[in-house]
């Protein structure tokens, strides 16, 4: 079972990398959906090993809300030209983004190995993968110019935080899940509203159009 969990955690990191390198908005949303479904799967795998019932609830909630509902809402919000558009705009170059992403993953793994960690249901390397997911998600938000991809980066980083919650304590994971679900649902609503407003105002979701406020 530990092997299955380690494989799932690694796949979550790979899905986050997919988000970083995705060339289209559609691809990025799919990567986020895959990351969320894998995370839900990990919680269910932990339930299978521990029989803690809230892990099952957490897994199903994650798959339902983050893996299916939120990607569907975001797809609906950005339907049309943006959804299909090839999006290669980074604030840094693509190779640099890849290199920095790899570096951040290493930082996550090394940082976790330095922390005095009490293993519970998941092992220390999973903590490293989780911190790497957070850093990659935040980096995607900072490196991408498209608002939808920035939002996807934040949502991916939130999944990383939830993974840390699962490592630290499954009981706490439930509390954090409720907090995050609330945050994600309202956050997606607010950010979705702002993305729709961007469409109206600058006829694009490219945040490099939003540079009037300076100084």
């Amino acid at each position: 079972m530990a092997l299955a969990e380690a494989v799932l955690a690694t796949l979550i990191l790979i899905a986050t990398f997919g988000l970083l390198i995705a060339r289209q908005v559609r691809g990025a949303i799919n990567c986020y959906a895959a990351q969320s479904i894998l995370l839900g799967g990990l919680a269910i795998a932990m339930f299978a090993g521990s029989r803690l019932p809230h892990l099952l609830a957490l897994g199903l909630l994650t798959i339902g809300i983050k893996g299916i509902a939120i990607p569907a809402v975001v797809r609906f919000q950005v339907r049309g030209s943006t959804y299909q558009r090839r999006e290669i705009a980074y604030y840094v170059g693509f190779p640099t983004a890849l290199l920095l992403g790899a570096g951040l993953s290493l930082v996550g793994l090394v940082a976790a190995s330095r922390l005095p960690f009490h293993p519970y249901l998941l092992s220390e390397p999973v903590l490293g993968l989780a911190i790497a997911v957070i850093l990659l998600g935040l980096f995607t938000t900072m490196a991408r110019r498209d608002a939808v991809l920035q939002l996807a980066g934040l949502l991916a980083a939130e999944n990383g935080v939830l993974l840390v919650g699962l490592v630290v304590s499954p009981e706490l994971g439930l509390l954090i899940e409720f907090a995050l679900v609330l945050d994600v649902v309202i956050g997606v609503a607010v950010m979705g509203f702002l993305i729709a407003r961007m469409h109206e105002t600058v006829a694009s979701t490219d945040t490099s159009e939003l540079t009037r406020l300076r100084g």
Partner: protein, 491 residues
């Protein structure tokens, strides 16, 4: 039991106000807001009085918790919110008359306004750290659409930057809180109540490395929300694009809520991680914020951005005050949370009047305010002197206490650096308001020679009176509250 009901009621009322506001006809929105916010204010004051009597209130299995530290923030949130409601009544009526907004937009404004107040008050009464994080995040989600209220290009840009950066900060803070939980697994077991009283009871037994890392992440995460440099870049945009009453709440009240999150985790992690280590973090971020703010204050041509950078400076100073850790500096920092909150609120009300009359935020485009709006001119000059730290206003006493605290702790160089930064920021803050008020040139025939209305003046005059009174005499209950809160920070 009564205390529990009061704690629940103080957040239930603004939440109920938001729900009622959603279905209330447009013409009753303002009256409804006034009724609900006055009741909420009354409940908050009653709770603070109870905390002064009993020390702290702990309810619903530690989910709700109010002590003197959070009461200081509750006091500011309650006063700023009720006065912002009154000011909104005058401000929005004027915008309706001028057709800047439509009547049906009042509903959106007040629903979000009440939710914003609800979230800020929830921050002050959160006993569970997961709830505290949720409440701080909720303040962003409720206020971001208010930043974008006018719906043009610049407010949209400000709102987007605000939400992306502060949500990213919130995630780092949550990671910090998770590590804080992990730091308590040794003494408290794998599954424990993640609340302030429980963690405080085991604070000296937490894992030092994890506790220090947790605090650093929370400092960066909630520090982003509090406007500490270098994570402050959203603040001048958001605080300059929102409607003026919302700017007053963002600068006067919301920043304090984020600081409360930082200080709460500081009190829990300091015994294990070492107060000196954590205070270094507060000092570094505080001083960097003050330096960055002074640089941008000097080159500012927009009066709302000028006030926003002043908030970055003052949040930096509050952080420095707690970072110094001496009793005088702590009292000064806590008093500054109150006096800065009141004074910045007053300044956004006064500049809101300017904006309504002159329809610009560009400093060189406004002249002769003393002739056009004599009461607003009084507020502008008095408020500018107060916020810049001139005696005899409350901000001066707060800043003087912090600098004295540094000298009392034999930190001579640090005290001198703080004083120098405050002096450097003084003229850039006062001069623009002096120029707009007293320069002789006329502004053009279309500007009427009259104040807007009493409703747009009275809340600001009340605040000017309050910061003047605090400057010469701190009322007994406030003094007691500040001393108790300082004791919480050093426990």
């Amino acid at each position: 039991m009564t205390d529990t009901i009061l704690l629940v009621a103080v957040v239930a009322f603004p939440l109920l106000a938001a729900i009622v506001s959603l279905v209330c006809p447009d013409r009753y929105q303002i009256a409804l807001a006034l009724v609900f916010q006055v009741v909420t204010f009354g409940l908050a004051v009653t709770l603070i009085a109870r905390v002064l009597q009993v020390g702290h209130i702990d309810a619903l299995a530690h989910w709700l918790y109010l002590d003197s530290l959070s009461s200081v923030v509750m006091l500011v949130v309650a006063i700023v919110s009720v006065l912002a409601t009154v000011y909104s009544a005058g401000y929005l009526r004027h915008e309706l008359l001028e057709r800047v907004i439509k009547a049906d937009e009042l509903r959106k404004y007040f629903v979000l306004f009440h939710l914003f107040v609800f979230a800020m008050l929830l921050v002050t009464i959160s006993g569970n750290l997961g709830l505290l994080w949720t409440a701080i995040s909720a303040t962003t989600l409720a206020s971001a659409p208010l930043v974008d209220f006018y719906g043009s290009h610049e407010p949209l840009e400000a709102a987007w930057k605000y939400i992306v950066l502060t949500v990213a900060g919130s995630l780092l803070a949550l990671l910090g809180l998770l590590l804080l939980y992990q730091s308590g697994v040794g003494p408290l077991g794998n599954s424990y109540d993640f609340s302030i009283p429980v963690l405080a009871g085991a604070a000296s037994h937490l894992s030092p490395t994890l506790a220090a890392t947790a605090f650093l992440l929370v400092l960066v995460g909630f520090g982003t929300k509090a406007g500490l440099a270098p994570m402050h870049t959203w603040l001048p945009d958001a605080h300059s694009q929102a409607p003026s009453p919302i700017c007053a709440m963002l600068s006067g009240a919301e920043l304090n809520c984020a600081m409360l999150g930082i200080f709460r985790v500081y009190t829990l992690t300091a015994p294990a991680a070492g107060a000196a280590t954590l205070r270094t973090g507060l000092l570094v971020f505080g001083l960097v914020s003050m330096i960055v703010a002074v640089v941008f204050l000097i080159s500012q041509r927009n009066f709302k951005r000028l006030l926003a950078y002043s908030s970055v400076e003052q949040m930096g100073l509050i952080s420095v005050g707690v970072g110094l850790g001496t009793p005088l500096a702590l009292i000064g920092a806590l008093l500054l949370m109150v006096t800065h909150g009141f004074t910045k609120c007053l300044m956004f009300f006064a500049t809101g009047n300017l904006l309504l009359r002159f329809r610009t935020t560009t400093i060189p485009e406004i002249q002769g305010v003393v002739r056009a709006m004599p009461w607003t001119a009084l507020l502008l000059v008095g408020g500018a002197l107060a916020i810049a730290g001139a005696p005899p206003f409350g901000v001066f006493i707060s800043e003087f206490s912090i600098i004295s605290g540094a000298f009392a702790g034999h930190l001579w160089v640090l005290g001198a650096v703080i004083a120098a930064l405050l002096l450097l920021g003084f003229i850039p803050l006062v001069a623009p308001f002096h120029r707009m008020t007293f320069s002789n040139a006329e502004t053009g025939g279309e500007v009427a020679q009259a104040e807007l209305s009493a409703v747009t003046l009275l809340p600001a005059l009340a605040l000017l009176g309050a910061v003047l009174v605090i400057g010469v005499w701190i009322p007994g209950p406030l003094d007691q509250l500040l001393h108790h809160a300082a004791a919480v920070l050093t426990r």
